[in-house]
């Protein structure tokens, strides 16, 4: 078998393009993956036109004034702001593609906000570009507007809470420059209580008792209004509880997916191609005349392609670790997961190669089979109907992508179902595809 391995390595060595791809591919993919995962997207360039006059940039809430520019400025932490002097310039910049969108704050923004509350005012956003860019900009602007709204709501909440406190406990407020002192409901109730205690005349009691009841109820319940305001400011609080399944952060899972896909393609294409090459060169019949038993021929192809793919994916992982933090203490698990996955993919590759008479046909078949299976394996539960998901689970279990991904995810991130179970699954698939490849060779012998 070692001579077959040597021969295949000599052939690979002489196939400059393939060899170059095997070296360049993992480095390029690892670099791209690392950069993609370690750096966020650029801020979208957005033209900004604020038509609100400078002397009208505040809104009045009771006796207090809020400067809206404090909140509009917060928009630009996630947006690359390009100031424009008027609406036609904003439109021109959007049309020319100089900016992805324009955000226009109309001149009546603050007056509407003052008169109609938070729902009365509006801003205009003008988009251009393809659907993907529009979606990106829309999401960015919507989220930043939501943040600004939340800030504004917080300020309003703070003011309103202050007024409630004054109404309840008493204090002073400013109305059009005049400072007014308020008694407060608690003190008012105390006064009514004392009057009723000092003057037990039925007529007085009859007239003051409803006031006393109102004051008692108001004192007891007006504090709830603050809770209601807090609820409006932040209506839903999300508490995360994961009962089972994946706990892997998305970027760490993306590393596992990328490396598994690379492992699959290198392995399946190489194994299927190396076996089909024996047919294409007409050497299979010569080898099968007792020179090399079929099992040895298949083993040689599996070992070589799995070895190459293992090295490629290991280089990828090491490269990615320069950008994304990976736990090097689990490196021995990476090795096991990559080795198990590589052998299973190589076994699938030789099974495919045993069906094809030419390298090109084998490569095409390998590609056509592998890619959809990888996509299927990534379909999340709940993404499709339960019956369809059951079918997808069965199909994914019959091919190595899902268990290989499970093994690598387990090795990298310690996620379920765990390395051991995935490796056992892969071992079963290696045996099945090895037997299938042997049967395929016999059929064409």
């Amino acid at each position: 078998m070692r001579w077959l391995l040597l021969k295949d390595m000599q052939i690979l060595w002489r196939s400059k393009l393939l060899l170059g791809l095997l070296i360049v591919y993992p480095i390029a993919i690892a670099t791209l993956m690392g950069l993609a995962l370690s750096s966020g997207p650029d801020k979208p360039r957005v033209a900004f036109l604020n038509q609100v006059p400078e002397n009208r940039s505040t809104i009045s809430l009771g006796s207090e004034k809020i400067d809206v520019s404090t909140y509009t400025d917060k928009l630009f932490t996630q947006i690359d702001r390009v100031d424009v002097p008027n609406r036609s310039q904003a439109l021109a910049k959007v049309k020319s593609g100089a900016v992805l969108a324009a955000l226009v704050i109309p001149s009546d923004f603050t007056s509407k906000l003052s008169n109609s509350g938070l729902t009365g005012a509006s801003v205009e956003v003008i988009y251009n570009g393809d659907a993907l860019k529009q979606s990106f900009v829309r999401n960015t602007i919507n989220s930043t507007l939501a943040q600004a709204e939340a800030e504004l709501a917080k300020q309003v909440n703070r003011l309103a809470s202050g007024y409630i406190d004054v109404i309840l406990e008493g204090g002073s407020i400013n109305i059009i420059g005049a400072k007014l002192k308020l008694l407060g409901l608690t003190a008012a109730k105390d006064l009514v209580d004392s009057v009723l205690a000092d003057d037990p005349r039925p007529a007085t009691r009859r007239r003051l008792l409803p006031v006393q009841d109102f004051a008692t109820l108001a004192v007891a319940n007006i504090g709830l209004a603050k809770s209601v305001l807090n609820t409006v400011e932040r209506p839903v609080v999300v508490e995360n509880t994961v009962l089972s399944g994946r706990r892997t952060p998305l970027d760490a899972f993306a590393v596992a997916v990328a490396v598994t896909i690379s492992l699959m393609f290198v392995c399946v294409l190489l194994a299927s191609g190396l076996l089909a090459l024996e047919r294409e060169e007409n050497t299979f019949a010569r080898l099968a005349r007792g020179l090399v038993p079929g099992g040895q021929l298949i083993t040689a192809k599996v070992v070589l392609s799995a070895g190459c793919a293992f090295l490629v994916s290991l280089v990828m992982l090491v490269g990615i670790s320069a950008f994304v933090p990976l736990d090097w203490g689990r490196a021995w698990m990476w090795v096991l997961a990559l080795a198990g996955g590589a052998l299973a993919f190589a076994a699938l590759g030789v099974a495919i190669g045993s069906l094809a008479r030419e390298v090109r046909a084998a490569s095409l078949l390998a590609f056509l089979l592998s890619l959809p299976l990888a996509f299927l394996a990534l379909v999340p539960s709940g993404g499709v109907s339960p019956a369809l998901y059951d079918v997808i689970r069965v199909i994914s279990a019959v091919f190595p992508f899902k268990p290989a991904l499970g093994a690598l995810d387990g090795a990298l991130n310690g996620s379920s179902p765990g390395l051991g179970q995935s490796l056992a699954h892969l071992a079963a698939l290696i045996a099945v595809f090895g037997v299938a490849a042997r049967a395929g060779l016999r059929r064409f012998a």
């Binding site: 001579w3 040597l6 021969k7 000599q10 052939i11 002489r14 196939s15 060169e281 007409n282 050497t283 019949a285 010569r286 080898l287 099968a288 005349r289 007792g290 020179l291 090399v292």
Partner: protein
């Protein structure tokens, strides 16, 4: 007409007895029996689909027959029969020497370097030893193809349409090479549908049609028994013979 050579030994090196092979409903080879002497050059001729390649692949242990036996006799009977398929069966990405070395290792030859060197010399490819096979001409590739079949020094060499893709000059070189092998005692069995080539080079011809062995004898005898008119060439004689046999 070919010069009739006398085989160098009485004992046959190869005995084929009652070999048959069926593919589904089609009987590819029917109860074929013949012997090959040491140093003999035997041609199997017949129209396309006659069963020539199937018969060679059975003798070469590529296919199992449904019935019958193939036996080797003589001092080198334990050695594998050499087999050279119609299409070159060597690795085009390896050099000539790498191909020879690989198959010599797989054949487990005793002296690897000496064997490779000998085959390079016999095929006159010593100067092209380090050339990638894909860069060689069809004739040179076929010489390497034959050399690989000869690596283990087999007592019997099977060649399937050995000169099919060669130009006349390359064909002449090839036949000189094969004749040299028979002179050194190797029995050569080749299949061809080129009747004139069989007439020119073979000591003996087998005529196969629809899997049936119709004739076993010298080319001269085939010509005389064909019923062809005087002056007609071997190809015309062969066609006349087949017609007379109902094919």
């Amino acid at each position: 007409m070919a010069q009739t050579k006398t085989p160098t030994a009485e004992t046959p090196t190869l005995v084929v007895e009652g070999v048959g092979k069926r593919f589904g409903d089609r009987q590819a080879v029917r109860d074929v029996s013949f012997e090959v002497a040491r140093g003999e050059l035997l041609a199997i001729i017949g129209p396309n689909g006659a069963g020539k390649t199937t018969l060679l692949s059975i003798i070469g242990d590529i296919r199992r027959p449904d019935g019958g036996t193939v036996r080797q006799l003589g001092p080198k009977a334990d050695k594998r029969i050499g087999w050279v398929p119609q299409q070159t069966a060597v690795y085009s990405k390896l050099t000539v020497a790498q191909n020879l070395r690989l198959f010599a290792r797989l054949e487990k030859v005793d002296d690897l370097d000496a064997t490779v060197q000998r085959m390079l010399e016999q095929t006159a490819l010593t100067e092209r030893a380090d050339d990638e096979l894909g860069s060689l001409s069809g004739g040179n590739r076929q010489r390497v193809n034959i050399a690989v079949g000869m690596l283990a020094d087999p007592p019997v060499l099977l060649l399937d349409e050995p000169s099919g893709a060669l130009d006349p000059r390359q064909r002449q070189r090839l036949w000189n090479f094969i004749t040299g092998l028979t002179q050194r005692g190797t029995s050569v069995v080749f299949a061809t549908h080129d009747i004139s080539e069989a007439e020119r080079h073979a000591d003996r011809v087998l005529v196969l049609a629809d899997g049936e062995l119709l004739f076993d004898g010298t080319p001269a005898r085939l010509h005389s028994e064909s019923g062809a008119a005087e002056g007609e060439d071997m190809e015309q004689a062969f066609v006349a013979f087949l017609r007379a046999q109902g094919h």
